[in-house]
Amino acid sequence: MTNAVANWLAAHGSAATQAGRRLASAPLNALLAVLAMAVSLALPAVGQMLLANARGLAQQVAPTLEISLFLAPDAGRPAAEEIRRRLAAHRGIHGVRFLPREETLARMKGAEGLGEVIDALPRNPFPDAFTVRPADASPAAMDALAAELRRLPQVEHVQLDSAWTRRLDAMLRLGRLGILLLAGLLGLGVVAIAFSTARLQVSTRTAEIELSRLLGATDAFVRRPFLWAGTLQGFLAGISALTITLAITLWLREPLADAARLYGLEWRLQGLTAADAMGVLATSAGLGWLGTTLSLRQFLGNIR
């Protein structure tokens, strides 16, 4: 068993070495194919990078997502205290802030032009209020929480400014869909490039393939170096695509940070996350393998 594994490893080792040598023997061809694949991969990768940044920026720019609760004007302090306790114990709520009506009145009096109006009123028009920071800020969760809070006793009004987050969420989802579409189309292009590269390699190695078969090579033996070459090429294309993405990130970082500073934001463009980068590498190697496999199925059978 260990012997079989060792043989298998040795076979793949020598196939991989051979694949590397094949790529090196026609460096210009390999380079052009890798470059074409890399550009195709870099576009969705850059898109993903920008989208992730947009998401982060939106969260920074968006007012902290809060739900406001206004009690009935005659609710009274004990009722308010009871509600505060229930909110604090609620698992869907991360933070609670109590705004006593007196405080609100004082703050409003200080506001330009409002002082006199408020003084003219017979009594404090403001109710006790709470602001609540939900644990889950997704629109659906916020809606559900707001509905639940509306059912609390003495709560007269619950205000939830979710329209903005909904719009943002829809935009981001649209962007994600666009990137997926782009990635799908360009991924197809990568497969096509790998396909034709493998075809070219097969055609330049017809004699060797034919001879190997005459000397007792199995299909797997003939296929292995091509598959390695295709996968390796895809992997190199992935690395190039990540390099391109990194270059674009670094290139945009300063100008974008300057622009953000004009809006009073301390914000830096982030590169792809490690998980996304791994995804790009795995995808590119996988697409290289796929294109090569399809190509070999098509063209290797003809050589006997």
């Binding site: 043989n7 040795a10 076979a11 020598s14 004699a207 060797e208 034919e210 001879l211 190997s212 078969r213 005459l214 000397l215 007792g216 090579a217 199995t218 299909d219 033996f221």
Partner: protein, 215 residues
């Protein structure tokens, strides 16, 4: 070792039969020369043994196996037991002599170190000791033929097939190359050679083909 049972072969669209009603038997350890005019079917006969072609009628048995009915996935393993010397040699010109001879061993999955020793031994046996780094294009015609033989025997096959191994060689070189086959025969290898120069293989049993028929 090899048995042909009323074998016929017709190539698709080829008109006349390349072989018809060929019936013979070769025992292990024999040296057999297949003679006949050009187009008599010598190459076809060898190709049937190595499962490069399938018989149209009859059966070809090699080491007890019916070669014509082998599954495609079993053919590689049959070929690893047969040393093949092709009419056109089929050397790889982008690889050294060493790498050319190494190919059958890589295919068979030999450990690299032992394989290397075997390659050198095979090159030595055909008189190419010290030339392992040479590229085939830098070898003379006779040396190229020796290289092709080294590649055929490096696996130590029990059966050696050669298609016109001395064609295009001058008389002295041809005799030297034929001598290599005689040496292998002497150590017990079954040797089947297609040639029109039968004088080079004295003592060999003869099969003579004429328009696809054994005489």
């Amino acid at each position: 070792m090899i048995e042909f049972q009323r074998v016929g072969k017709r190539y698709p669209g080829g008109g006349a039969d390349a072989l018809s009603d060929v019936d013979f038997r070769i025992e292990a350890g024999e040296l057999v020369v297949v003679g006949g005019h050009s187009g008599a079917g010598k190459s076809t006969l060898l190709k049937l043994v190595a499962a490069i072609e399938k018989p149209t009628t009859g059966a070809v048995l090699v080491q007890g196996q019916n070669v014509g009915s082998l599954r495609p996935s079993a053919i590689p393993f049959l070929r690893r037991n047969i040393g093949l010397v092709f009419q056109d040699q089929k050397l790889l010109f982008d690889r050294s002599a060493f790498e050319n001879v190494m190919l059958p061993l890589s295919i068979a999955g030999f450990p690299r170190q032992e394989a290397g020793r075997r390659v050198l031994a095979a090159l030595d046996k055909v008189g190419l000791a010290g030339r392992e780094r040479a590229m085939p294009a830098g070898l003379s015609g006779g040396e190229q033929q020796r290289l092709a033989i080294a590649r055929a025997v490096v696996n130590r096959p029990a059966l050696l097939l050669a298609d016109e191994p001395t064609a295009h060689l001058d008389a002295d070189t041809a005799a030297a190359v034929a001598g290599i086959f005689l040496d292998f025969h002497r150590v017990g290898v079954t040797v089947l050679v297609a040639t029109y120069d039968r004088a080079l293989f004295p003592g060999a049993r003869r099969l003579n083909l004429d328009h696809g028929r054994l005489q």
